[in-house]
Subunit: 354 residues, 2 copies
């Protein structure tokens, strides 16, 4: 297992290198194209944010979805970056909406913009947020442009572009549920899983895999890849919530308190409340509503999540999803290397530390 894991991580590293080189090229061309000095600086800001970190999971999965059925090529690397640039679009706008200040261990985009261009300007925070919303929208256009310039045949690109628009649409719908959910009186576990399906699973795993498969020209296993991706993607989100609560700031790149301070009703919180007495339930609720939980309360909250059995419940559910995902994958006929990778990846998602 250790050897396999090293091998697969090396494979991911190799693809990551290709993806980042292509991102560099894309932004270099964009910057060269811009004559207005402010716009040129903004494109550089978008580039720096994009290249400043991230696991490149989504473009890696686009490439894997393609290479599962067709030979690796420059074209698929070019197309894959569309899913990394769209990540920039979502992260920039997400951080504005959540009023976050830290991302990938560094300032969020709107904080950078405020510091860089708007020091001492009245209403500078608002202007920085507005600039960031528009910069996100521009990144979204880049995402479409990168896909369209990848060199695949017209008919393939049309299908792929439809899929890309659908991915954005569904992610947006997940976002809407995410934003409205704290205001809803009843928001159940099935509601939450559907939110994860739309906002994370579709966008992080099943969408990229389907996009890759469409680009390969083989659409026969779209359904299986979609099931695999949905299940692994939900498991990914559950794991993310666990890392968010139990990880440390250094490896995660943001405060472990931030989910709690944002009042996120994660599966961990939902289940812990379900399994607790009225007194503990009230305590969890007060932590989520505090906006700024104390160190002491945060430690206590973690303990309740463990002692209530909620942590085990999340771990088990994620494990079950991953097993089912692998069942769906076994029906897919494709290249062994990429299939092995996806089998390994399903486990990796629930075992990773960050």
């Amino acid at each position: 297992m250790g050897d396999l894991s090293d091998h697969m991580k090396q494979y991911m590293q190799e693809l990551k290198g290709q993806i980042e080189a292509e991102l560099e090229r894309f932004f270099e061309d964009k910057i060269r194209e811009k004559s207005d000095p402010f716009i040129r600086e903004m494109v550089k800001d978008i580039r720096d944010f994009t290249l400043g970190g991230g696991k490149r999971l989504r473009p890696i999965l686009v490439i894997v979805g393609h290479d599962l059925f067709a030979e690796h090529s420059d074209m698929i690397v070019k197309a894959s970056i569309s899913m990394e640039i769209s990540q920039t679009y979502f992260l920039i706008q997400d951080d504005v909406m959540d009023q976050s200040t830290l991302r990938r261990g560094s300032s969020t985009f709107h904080v950078r913009i405020r510091k860089r261009y708007l020091q001492g300007v009245p209403d500078g925070s608002r202007i920085a947020e507005n600039i960031s919303i528009v910069a996100g929208d521009i990144a979204e256009s880049y995402s479409h442009e990168a896909l369209l310039a990848s060199g695949f045949s017209d008919s393939t690109l049309i299908l792929a572009n439809e899929e890309l628009s659908r991915i954005f649409e569904t992610t947006g719908e997940g976002q809407l549920l995410d934003v409205i959910s704290p205001t809803l009186e009843s928001f159940s576990q099935p509601d939450l899983l559907r939110l994860h399906l739309w906002k994370t699973a579709n966008y992080t795993v099943s969408g990229p895999l389907k996009l890759g498969a469409i680009l390969s020209g083989n659409q026969r296993y779209i359904q299986e890849l979609s099931y695999y991706g949905s299940l692994v993607g939900i498991a990914f989100q559950i794991r993310d919530d666990i890392i968010g609560l139990f990880g440390d700031e250094k490896t995660v790149g943001k405060s472990p308190k931030s989910d709690v301070n944002e009042g996120k009703k994660t599966l961990l919180m939902m289940k812990a409340m379900e399994e607790s007495d009225e007194h503990q339930r009230e305590f969890i609720r007060s932590c989520l509503e505090s906006g700024n939980v104390s160190d002491e309360d945060f430690v206590k909250l973690r303990r309740i999540v463990e002692s209530s059995g909620s942590l085990d419940y999340s771990l088990n559910l994620a494990g079950m999803f991953v097993r089912r995902a692998k069942d769906y994958l076994s029906a897919v006929k494709g290249n062994k290397m990429e299939k092995d990778f996806l089998l390994w990846f399903a486990d990796y998602v629930v075992e990773r530390k960050f």
Copy 2:
């Protein structure tokens, strides 16, 4: 001239009817497709906002750009609505960024959302703004989807989709300049005209016309249409600023004070400041910085814009742009009806009352 104008307006009305019927169909299909009740309501909100007003100028120009070189068809009407749905995307996000409350004589999108779903909810205004940003993003995906589903050939759709992404990119760049410009120490008349070119002319006139021409399969006169559209588009914006300052709330659909209250340095304001003495210049500056200009000061401001010669300057500049635009158009070989329309339209833009 009266007869011609009636005839052309009737032609626009006819296209408007076709466009609105197609928009109805598009949203009906979308709503039918959604199973989540909240998402379904949100799509209805996006539909109501889209269908709730607007001159449908952009889709009309997409159709004219196509029909100039090819026969009118259902396909071009289907494709044209992409430019109306993208208008929804820009308006929703614009109104959030500008914190506007009125649009098309009715509440802006984020105000509607707050009233409809978030009455009495803590932080409801912020949540409504976040929902609106995401709803705008979703409309942007619809825009791509509508174009891709229009039925043109794959190779044509690829070119058209590239153009659509470019239109969004350039509009975003114009937006960036617009947001940052109030914070810049020097923002000259050429800067402002470039802003109009990117934010308005490209998006309102030249982009739609080029998109239509690309869909017709005739790319021979793209450059001429681009020049025509840029010049008419800047004239359109200059006229918009004049209507914004001198029109009345009823016909314009928003308070004539709103540009001033937003501190917009329009060409009218720039030129008035240039041509005024220090005392008047200070008065104009204070109106733009007030955030809430009094009735009395507003009347005085209008008078300065007239007496300084700034209004005439804007009118003359717009007139000159329109004449040059018609020169470029005369080199285009296309169907007489649509060419006559564009010649008339150039004049209409600077003569319209709202």
